[in-house]
């Protein structure tokens, strides 16, 4: 999976937790889950769990700590997928 594909998959995952339709349409690497998409912090946990299920990876606490933006989250997913494949 390349970066664009991961961002596309991520967009589908975060959609139900955000009411910021225009920010969702323009989702990109610099999108911040809390400040841009106005996602409730308790729902960030749901996003992490959804990512684990969708990509079949495990997100440790240190990785989760960084997952506030699309960029950081995409990097972590790519990293975990690679480790998985290796």
């Amino acid at each position: 999976m390349n970066k664009e594909e991961i961002i596309e998959a991520l967009k589908i995952i975060v959609e139900p937790y955000s009411e910021e339709a225009s920010a969702l349409v323009h989702i990109n690497e610099n999108t911040d889950f809390i400040t841009d998409l106005k996602i409730n912090s308790a729902n960030l946990v749901d996003i992490v769990l959804d990512i684990e299920e969708k990509f079949n990876i495990e997100i440790d606490n240190d990785s989760m700590a960084k997952m506030l933006t699309v960029k950081a989250t995409t990097e972590i997913i790519a990293q975990k997928l690679e480790a998985h494949a290796g």
Partner: protein, 154 residues
């Protein structure tokens, strides 16, 4: 520096399913999970601990400049046998003291780095549609929004 966090319990009920597999484990320490499973009102305990963590994080974030999502690194302790719900939240080498107010429709927690300051904090809670539009002019020390509620501390 002050922190505060309000949880609209009616919204939390539909917005977050904390019974989902692995959910609690991502947020709460083993000790906190024990508090939840042994609580009479489990929903209330989940959101009480969550509001303690959030209110403490709001001070920690401003004090250290660190912005992250590490709810498990915020360790809550609830002081027993107090008629008010007081506690402490530890993160790294910082300790923040908390006082919580549990109502039927919301839980509100205030946090301060010094225990004695808790009694000096002034709290204002507004319910929709009565949110003052110009509240920023009153220069609150911390602002929390959730569902129907706006909570300000001074």
């Amino acid at each position: 520096m002050l922190g505060n966090d309000i949880v609209d319990l009616d919204l939390a009920k539909i917005q977050s399913n904390w019974r989902r597999k692995n959910y609690l484990d991502k947020i709460f320490t083993i000790e906190e999970q024990l508090l939840i499973t042994s609580a009479k009102k489990t929903d209330e305990m989940v959101w009480l601990l969550w509001s303690m963590k959030e209110s403490a994080y709001k001070i920690y974030n401003r004090k250290t400049g660190i912005r992250n999502f590490a709810p498990k690194s915020l360790n809550c302790t609830i002081y027993p046998n107090a008629d008010q719900i007081k506690g402490a939240v530890n993160i790294d080498n910082h300790t923040y003291f908390t006082k919580s107010n549990i109502q039927l429709h919301y839980i509100h927690t205030i946090a301060a780095p010094v225990y004695s300051k808790l009694e000096e904090i002034k709290v204002a809670i507004y319910e929709l549609p009565d949110h003052p539009s110009d509240y920023k002019r009153t220069k609150p020390g911390c602002v929390s929004h959730h569902g129907q509620y706006l909570a300000l501390v001074y």
